[in-house]
Every structure is written in C-alpha cells, then in structure tokens.
C-alpha cells in the first residue's frame, strides 16, 4: 500500500522539491513540509553572491504562498521537530501552537547542515553566513568600508571574499589547509583561484589556523594577528543528524541511505546535504553539499513514494561557485587521493581507480556540459573521449 501521509522535515530547496515532485508524480495524499526558519522556503546559493550585492530577498523565494494552497501542501514555518517516534510513526513538533504530534506513513529527512564551530576562542564575535537572516546582517555590515577577515577558504568564504573585495573592502582569508577549497577541487584549480584572489587584492593566509577571535580581529596559530573590523566564520558545515541519531537510525557523516535513498528504517528517507549515500560510480558512501544532490534526491524519493518503485539513484553530481567573474563548474565527484591532469588553462580532469571521476572548468560551459554527459551512466568516461569532445 502506498503511503497516504508524507512528512518532510526541512524546508530548504531539497525538502520543497520533494513536495513539488510528489504532486508532479500524482501523489494525492497529505504532504506536510516543516521548516525551522520563518518565511517561505528560499534559495541559499545566492546568499554568498548576488544577494550580498543586490539585497533582493524576494528574488530568493522558491515558490509563492499560492503554491502551497494550490498544491495542497501544508507548510509549517518556524517549527522544529523535536523527536521522531518510529514506533508510533509520529514526529513531535515545537512551533506555533506549542508542542504537538504529527503522524506519518513516510518521513523524509531534509534537515541539511549547520555551520561548523571549530575550537576557536571568541567565536561569538564572528558573523555566520548560512541563513537569509545571516546574509541580511552581513549586508548591513558591508555598508561602510571595512577591514574584513574570513575564516575558511572554501566556496562560501571565497564567494564572500570576492563580493566584499568588489565592494572595496580590505579582505583577508585565513585557511587552515595549505590550499584553497582543498576538499572540493584539485591542487591545480586551487592554485588558479589562489592567483585570481591575490590579483584582486585579497590577502590569503594559507596553512594558518585561527585560534581566537575578538572585537579587533583574529589571532593565528603562528602568533600573528589579522586586524579586522569584522570576521566571517566560513569553516564548513556538518550534517544535522541529531533527530536520526536519537531515533536510532544509522548515521555516519550523515543519515546513511541506500541506492533508493532509504534509511535503515524503510519508512524514512533522507536527502541532500544531510544524507550519506552510495556514489553511483564508485559505490563509496558520500555526502554532497549541493543543490543538484538535494533536488535529484528529492525527485527520486518522490517518484518512489508516488509510484511504488523507481530505478536506483544514478545522477551525475555537479557543482558551481561564482567568485567574481570566475565561474567554477565541476562535473562529477573526486574523492581524496584523486590524481589530476591539467587539460587546458582552467580545465582540470581528475581520476581515481575507476577512471575519469570529475572535470573542473572555469568560464567554460561547453566543456562542463560535455563532461557531464561523458560522466553519465553509459558515457565514455575517459580522458581521450573528454579531449575529443572538448577540442572537436
């Protein structure tokens, strides 16, 4: 019997997509979408890019209020799920109207991530950049000329640094790893962005850990100080797995799911940033932080619920990061230990035991799209085919 009540915990892009796709697949049961933040579900990627420059919050809204009425999706903003009662198939909520329970036939965990708090003294002096409210505070802080320190040289920290520099601020980025975006891109691509940011006048402190933040700046582990009027903490995220942990679901760096995106409880699925799933190419368990994974996961789960069955998850991962005029696009996913080959300027192929794993490009949509197709199931994922496709 197909479930008649679906509850989605988390109203980010993935959680909302699950609701949209359930209706698109003809699911006619009850859908409840629960979000911890106020307001309508919104896009996060622009918070570190266009929103900081333009400040148009309404442009971030993913669907208008009328969507929830016309598609009969019950949306509960400003509401937290306190507990999953798997025996009773209920979630316990705390929000408008106080503590209450809500029954489910299928539960979708789309709880996302939260910002990592590394062991640095005085982090209460630092800004965060995760929510619309965070981005609004940052926009205000950027209104006057400032000296800014950014802790973390990943996508978010660097996207923010590029915007702040463009606005004329003095920007310093502190990264504990010896290179930028070390978890996400090849060393060659790290070097490309290192050179670009330096050319914009961003100061980079690589291989230096922040050990303390105060009202006047950041203390580094080599005894140096970075003077700053304000500090942004952008040191990565960790998955929100507390609900799953407490409910006894299997979690290892995220809620563990199978190729059908089912958790260790067949009545519970997980998607997006909070889910650890088998990479279709390598079989290794991975957790991706991307719009692509969140929405592709959501579509599979919705189809499975609505139709009773669906093929295993097989989507090719893709990522992007806009840093100033540099548009980084990544097709595929390369784990730690991947080797690299610089194919052309701003075009790096990465390999693992299974062959071509990922292709990184800068301002090269053509190569990116070719790579996505080569990496898709049935594609000829090798370097010769990539070169043929790109230089044809």
């Amino acid at each position: 019997m197909s479930p008649s009540r679906v509850v989605i915990v988390g109203a980010g892009q993935g959680g909302l997509q699950a609701a949209i796709s359930l209706r698109q697949n003809g699911f006619d049961g009850a859908i409840t979408l629960i979000g911890a933040e106020p307001g309508l579900p919104y896009q996060r990627p622009p918070l570190s890019k266009a929103y900081l420059l333009e400040g148009k919050a309404e442009a971030l809204t993913l669907r208008p209020a009328s969507f929830f009425e016309s598609k009969q999706v019950t949306y509960l903003p400003d509401t937290r799920v306190l507990e999953i009662d798997r025996g009773a198939c209920e979630v316990r909520l705390d929000g408008v109207g106080g503590d209450r329970r809500l029954g489910y036939d299928h539960l979708i965990l789309a709880t996302g991530t939260r910002n990592m708090r590394p062991p640095i003294d005085g982090l209460e002096h630092a800004f965060d950049l995760r929510t619309l409210a965070d981005a609004g505070r940052l926009r205000e802080a950027l209104a006057a000329p400032r000296r800014i320190a950014v802790i973390g040289g990943g996508f978010i920290g660097l996207e923010f640094a590029a915007v702040a520099r463009k606005l004329g601020h003095e920007v310093r980025v502190i990264e504990a790893a010896p290179r930028l975006m070390a978890r996400a891109v090849s060393p060659a691509m790290s070097r490309h962005f290192e050179a670009w940011h330096r050319a914009q006048g961003v100061a980079l402190h690589l291989g230096r850990a922040a050990i303390g933040v105060d009202a006047a700046g950041v203390a580094l582990d080599d005894g140096a100080r970075v003077e700053a009027d304000f500090v942004l903490l952008a040191a990565g995220v960790r998955p929100n797995t507390e609900l799953a942990d407490t409910a006894g679901l299997k979690t290892v760096n995220g809620v563990c799911v199978d190729a059908q995106l089912l958790s260790s409880d067949p009545a519970i699925s997980a998607l997006g940033d909070c889910a650890s799933f088998p990479d279709p190419r390598s079989g290794a368990m991975v957790r991706l932080e991307s719009v692509q994974a969140a929405t592709d996961h959501a579509r599979l789960i919705a189809a499975r619920i609505a139709k009773g069955a669906c093929p295993d998850y097989a989507a090719v991962p893709w990522f992007w990061s806009d840093q100033g005029d540099q548009k980084l696009q990544i097709a595929g996913f390369a784990g730690p230990g991947a080797t690299e080959e610089v194919v052309a300027d701003g075009l790096v192929a990465r390999f693992d035991a299974g062959g071509l794993a990922a292709v990184e490009t800068v301002n090269n949509a053509r190569a990116h799209m070719k790579a996505r197709r080569l990496l898709a199931p049935g594609g000829a994922a090798d370097l010769a085919a990539l070169k043929d496709a790109i230089f044809a």
Partner: protein, 107 residues
Amino acid sequence: MIKVTYVAHDGTETVIEAEEGTSVMQAAVSNDVDGIVGECGGSMMCATCHCYVDEAWEARTGQRSDDEDEMLEGAASEVTERSRLSCQIKLDPSLDGLVVHLPEEQL
C-alpha cells in the same frame, strides 16, 4: 509592470505581470507557472528554465549567449532556433506583452 504570457506545451496560457528587471524565469517561478523549474536560480548552471520565444518577439529578446547555447545542450526537450534559457531574458518595457512557449519537459 510588464505583461508576460507563458504558453504551456498543452496550449494552456498563463498571463502574469512582473516588475522591470525580473527575468522571465524568475517571473514564472514567483507566479507559480508550471513548466519552468529554474533549479539553479538563474546562475546558468542547469537548463531547466528552457523556453521558446514566440516568433513575433524573437527580434526584441535578442540572441542567446555562447554559454547559454552550451547549457541548452543539456535541455530535456528539443532545442530550436528560438530556444532560450528564460533566466537570461530580463524584462524591460520593450518586452511588455512578451509571449514564450514552454517545452514538454525540463528535466
């Protein structure tokens, strides 16, 4: 306000009004027009806001860029000479009354 008509694959027309400066994709999404997905939010990272500009408007919407052309290669439905990524068409007064046709599929 600028008027835009979206013609769905089955012929259903939806007429909306949007502010100047809004993209054709954003206008569709914020008015809950089915048939435009706009997954990447207008960053030209996906091809899920594909539309066909009506013949009568082709000259005024301009040409698609090279990058747009490349991303359209990933579109789910047939790409024709009138195909555009609707996130790349910004509404201005010269486009008041614009008509775009939507493909059968975006994914």
